[in-house]
Subunit: 193 residues, 2 copies
Amino acid sequence: MFDVFAKYLRKHIEISDEDLELIRTGCVERRLRKWQPLLQDGETWLINCFISSGCLRMYRIGEDGKEHTFRFGVDTWWVTDMESYNREKPSLFNIEALETSTVIIWTKAKWTELMLAIPALKEFQEMLQANSYEASQRRIYSLISSSAEEKYNEFQQTYPNVFNRVPLHMVASYLGVSRETVSRLRKNFTKPK
Amino acid sequence: MFDVFAKYLRKHIEISDEDLELIRTGCVERRLRKWQPLLQDGETWLINCFISSGCLRMYRIGEDGKEHTFRFGVDTWWVTDMESYNREKPSLFNIEALETSTVIIWTKAKWTELMLAIPALKEFQEMLQANSYEASQRRIYSLISSSAEEKYNEFQQTYPNVFNRVPLHMVASYLGVSRETVSRLRKNFTKPK
DNA sequence: CGATTCTTTGAAAACAGTCAATCTGTGTGG
DNA sequence: CCACACAGATTGACTGTTTTCAAAGAATCG
């Protein structure tokens, strides 16, 4: 499963076999069953986690007891709670597997060490963060400027590989609308064709 | 006006007089009248900009011609279009002064140079980005989990110094609701007291 | 097959958006 | 100093969308 990561990494940066080996020896692979949690709120997230296969989601339980989906992650995406990671404080989120999944994990300490040893990795990390930030900005724009229907379509078009493998009610909570509304939108969208 | 920046910077990092002088000589101060644009969509944002006094806002004009407010900035905040800056591509945003304001500007080239020369500045920059990312995450959570009324209250409580110096209809477009709705929320919130 | 989870549907109510008119405060120029 | 224009805020009536609640219908899994 580390192969997936190696291939992914080499698609983005140039890295020697030695450095890659360094990265490999620092990691742990972990297999997750469906519904298995990777993080539960209250715990502190002190790892860096790459999804080599499967599908995870990160969500938060609101004061009303409802689940609000923050993010999905599928093959070759990263999943993290930046706030917990950076500030080393308990997370407000839960992360769970939506399918049987495999993840590769580095401790924060190990990852920091690796970034110091391998400048290209540090740069890569910065690029990932920039991408992640930009994605957040686009999502905010969508949330403040679009109707439920537009948000639904945008999500479907932007993340088709996520869209068709996660339950609809999670898409709804990701978009900030009710299950029922999403169900009706979908209906309207398949019918008029 | 550079004093404001110097004081701000020293509140956050330790920095020698020489380095501070280096930062100072690389910058330009600019005064903005009310309504004066600092960035117009289509232009590429290749500067780093610190607000030493006043109030700016960053917004985007939607396909429907409506303004969607992305962000406000007041004294000692930074304002930037990360996507345009990082990728050096035309911005989708407009940035304008909501009051007479003073900003301090470094070119991207100069700022990059400074960050290489002064490691503490680079670290500081990374911290700023982390904060900015976390703020985005909180905003997303608010947008997907809260009603208009809750969003309104949260904004008022989180950014009181912004709230009471920008027009209400801009707060509305920041929250993703109509002017009229915000106006009615405010009414309900002052009356029952 | 039975249990659980997920989705759909209907009807009513709550909510937010639109449109148009009015009101308020501010600043400008005659 | 007044009249006027302008930006901003408010209000009412109406429309449309979304939520809620409750129930029933698929789909999935052991």
